[in-house]
């Protein structure tokens, strides 16, 4: 009930901002612009859905941005025209991401190192590997079929597919329920017979795999694999999740909120660009909105 209320609050916020924008800038409400908005949020959205898994278990993943760069570079390496069928670079990118996430998960569960530290290390290391793999230079000259992934509505479809699958996983699968339990009370989850380590490993691996997928889509969209891409993406992703009502301490939240959070951030970005608000003020507005949205969510939960 409460989560519904807070989601409702987000929907209202979105509608208000949308209405205001479409009055001031009628172009906001046109199909091409709305497609723009969803396409622009799709990469952040994919990452945000991934990190939702990890945040639900009460962990955190700071390595997303670097994993995006690494998997983008690796995928691009397999995507030169006439190289491989398009499935190969996509699979390579996703697998590299999953491997990074899997390492995060193993160190967190077996090594018992705090997720913040583990993923901070991965953030640095994955960036380094991306630079080594690419020799510090962007990997360009990508094939037509690979670039297709980043064009038109394809990123949006990928984002929607990821969201739907994740929604089902989190709300209908036993595994999803276990994620919530681990985040809500790890000890009680263990005492209920849940394989806590396994659940966490799954969360980090999925998060990494989705970061990998995000990296593939990004590389396809900007038609290069950039070793220095994705800097700061993890924070945008976490912001979207938190705006969507998922608790940083775990156990509460879900994909629905995350999608709305990403959408809200996208609409604001788009709106500020349409209004040609100066970059300085854009940063201020975004900061206020992140904190404001979370503050509103929490107020609703208390009452």
């Amino acid at each position: 009930m409460k989560t519904w209320l807070s989601r409702f609050g987000l929907v209202i916020a979105l509608l208000c901002i949308g209405t205001a924008l479409s009055i001031v800038k009628p172009v906001f409400l046109t199909f091409p612009n709305l497609l723009n908005v969803v396409r622009q949020i799709s990469i952040n959205g994919i990452l945000a859905v991934g990190v939702t898994y990890v945040l639900l278990t009460g962990g955190v993943d700071l390595s997303l941005g670097s994993v995006v760069a690494l998997s983008g570079v690796v995928a691009a390496g397999f995507a030169h025209p006439g190289d491989w069928p398009v499935i190969v670079p996509v699979a390579a990118g996703v697998l590299v991401g999953a491997a990074c996430g899997g390492i995060n998960g193993l160190v967190v569960t077996k090594g018992r190192v705090a997720p913040f530290i583990v993923t901070l290390g991965m953030m640095t290391a994955a960036r380094g590997v991306a630079l080594v793999v690419s020799g510090g230079k962007p990997v360009s000259n990508l094939g037509e079929s690979f670039r297709w992934i980043g064009s038109g509505a394809v990123p949006v479809i990928v984002f929607l597919a990821v969201s739907c699958v994740s929604w089902v996983v989190l709300s209908n699968l036993r595994l999803g329920r276990h994620l919530y339990a681990v985040g809500g009370n790890e000890n009680a989850a263990r005492a209920s017979g849940i394989n806590v380590e396994g659940v966490k490993l799954f969360a980090y691996t999925i998060c990494g795999a989705l970061a990998g997928l995000g990296g593939v889509v990004l590389a396809a969209r900007i038609t290069t694999g950039q070793p220095n891409a994705g800097v700061g993406y993890e924070l945008d992703a976490i912001a979207a999740v938190v705006i969507g009502g998922t608790s940083l301490s775990g156990g509460v939240g879900g994909v629905g909120g995350t999608i709305l959070g990403a959408l809200l951030m996208g609409v604001i970005n788009n709106g500020l660009d349409l209004l040609n608000v100066s970059s300085y003020y854009q940063a201020i507005v975004k900061g206020i909105i992140i904190v404001g949205a979370v503050w509103l969510n929490q107020r609703k939960e208390k009452s």
Binding site: K2, R174, A188, A191, S192, G193, N195, S247, G251
Partner: protein, 533 residues
């Protein structure tokens, strides 16, 4: 005004305080009358006047009154959900009342937060202590009002000196430099009391102070409370343990369903009357042990050992049997249960379930072998407080990888009915339930996978008499249906009335097997007390 009072207090320790000259806004004449009256009838340190408080969907308090006299121990009793906690939170400034008024030492008292209450002289020692675990004892005592030298430097020497003095007043030797995390729960309580003394508290609220400490520590606590009384400090004592209430309190107030039921001097009331007042109906508090119709061996331990905790434990548990496990804190009972259930790995020995040796490395393994456990610490191991009641109940037994919502709802509803758990609906967040209902949810969850062996570790700790009686009835019913039950409890009467066999643990070993029908509490204690040397 306040500094004057405090310095005044220090000059005559150990005397009941008189309020002459200290009640502002009243004519001097009244003060002298009050002072005069004091000899005949004690002044009231705290008066709660028709206080009401509602939460969404619940009227937690309905025009409740409470008068606490100077220098007395006033017990507050009632079932869980009766409103005791809410009332105490209002007095301690944690929440504000919707209606009504508080008078503290004759003055209108409206604390906006716990700090206000503490400054005024009301300290609360909550059931779940929340000390700063990494700080020292002295730092804990003076947190928020540290003695300061120039430039904001901490006066550590003074802090330690004062802490030692306060702890000395309480009569317990705890080094002020010890880390809080290294203390026992009982010692932490003492530190909390010292902290209250540091604030010159006139009223101390203790919420279930004996729920997590051993019997010997209880004795120490009671002598401290006696001391406080002699100093003129009043105590509001919240507890479910009626023995304690009859031992130490001067008066008792009963709450039921958010309403004031009765206030009596303790000498004017007997045990059964008190229970009837609390529950609003008659309850048979104890019944003899159930019949010992036992079946085949369900659980067998052979030489089970966990280094530093227990050694060479042999135990046989049959279907339909309730084996009670008595012992003092630290005897190794909880640790034994945790090893059986796979929360902790054993260092040696064998566990056999239904005749077959099994390897249990996690609670998942234990559950798969038909073992269920209700752990001692409900908050730590029992409940996922942010999840709904339904999700908690089905947590240990979600069949298949895909959740069938309809089946899940049906399972949850069935358990809610079977254990008469009071909830608004099955989607209510578990953390918002009362303690007794939370415990029933944990029991329902544990029993959903239909275990054949059930371990109960302090199943009735901190829950009200009504829920306790229900819990006892469930346990007997389960045993009658063939469940093998291992029951750990620090309450001997509970063990004696429930168990079909009674084992006593002492210092990590099983020291005796007794027949609960013929044994006395004294005998059990004799086997439980550590041997001299």
């Amino acid at each position: 005004m306040r500094p004057a009072r405090k310095s005044n207090r220090r000059t005559r320790p150990g005397h009941p305080k008189l309020h002459s000259g200290e009640i502002p806004g009243l004519a001097g004449g009244w003060n002298s009358i009050a002072a005069g009256l004091c000899c005949v009838k004690r002044l009231r340190v705290l008066q709660v006047l028709d206080v009401s408080k509602s939460f969404p969907g619940i009227r937690a308090l309905d025009r409740v009154r409470l008068d606490v006299s100077d220098g007395t121990v006033h017990a507050l009793v009632g079932e869980n959900g009766a409103g005791k906690s809410t009332l105490m939170k209002i007095v301690a400034g944690l929440i504000r009342p919707d209606e009504g008024e508080l008078l503290f030492k004759g003055q209108r008292f409206r604390p906006r937060n716990p700090h206000d209450a503490l400054k005024a002289g009301i300290a609360m020692i909550p059931q779940e202590l929340m000390p700063f675990r990494e700080l020292t004892v002295a730092e804990n005592i003076f947190v928020g009002h540290e003695p300061i030298l120039r430039l904001g430097w901490l006066d550590k020497k003074k802090m330690q000196r004062e802490a030692a003095r306060l702890l000395g007043q309480v009569g317990v030797a705890i080094p002020p430099t010890a880390r809080m995390k290294d203390l026992t729960v009982a010692q932490m309580q003492v530190v909390e009391i010292a902290k209250a003394l540091a604030h010159n508290a006139d009223l101390l609220i203790m919420d279930e102070p004996t729920s997590a400490i051993s019997e010997r520590e209880v004795e120490t606590l009671f002598s401290i409370i006696g001391d406080l009384k002699r100093r003129g400090v009043s105590v509001i004592y919240v507890s479910h343990r009626l023995d304690e209430i009859f031992r130490i309190s001067d008066a008792v107030t009963v709450l039921r369903d958010g309403q004031h039921v009765a206030t009596r001097p303790i000498t004017d009331i007997d045990r059964n009357t008190l229970i009837t007042l609390m529950v609003g109906r008659d309850i048979e508090e104890t019944a003899g042990p159930s019949a010992t119709a036992t079946g085949e061996v369900a659980l067998e331990l052979r030489g089970l050992t966990k280094r530093g905790k227990f050694t060479g434990v042999d135990l046989t548990l049959r279907q339909g049997e309730i084996v009670g496990l008595a012992g003092l804190m630290g005897a190794g009972r909880t640790e034994l249960a945790e090893v059986i259930f796979g929360l902790v790995r054993s260092d040696g020995g064998e566990v056999r379930v239904h005749g077959r040796a099994v390897k249990i490395e996690s609670p998942g393994d234990a559950i798969a072998h038909g073992i269920g456990m209700v752990t001692e610490d409900r908050h730590k191991f029992g409940l996922v407080p942010v999840m709904s009641v339904k999700h908690n109940i089905t947590l240990a037994d979600l069949p298949g990888w895909w959740i069938n919502r309809r089946a899940e709802n049906a399972m949850a509803d069935e358990q809610l009915r079977a254990y008469s758990i009071k909830v608004r609906d099955r989607n209510q967040i578990a953390g918002t339930l009362s303690g007794g209902n939370q415990q029933k949810v944990v029991l329902a969850k544990t029993l959903l996978p239909r275990p054949s062996i059930l371990i109960l570790d302090e199943p009735t700790r901190g829950i009200d008499i009504g829920s306790k009686a229900e819990m006892h009835a469930f346990v007997r019913k389960l045993a009658r249906e063939g469940m093998a039950v291992l029951l750990i409890s620090s309450e001997l009467p509970e063990l004696l009335c429930l168990s079909t066999r009674l084992l006593v643990m002492r210092q990590g070993r099983i020291s005796a097997e007794l027949d609960p029908r013929s044994v006395t509490q004294e005998t059990v204690l004799r086997h439980a007390m550590p041997k001299e040397r």
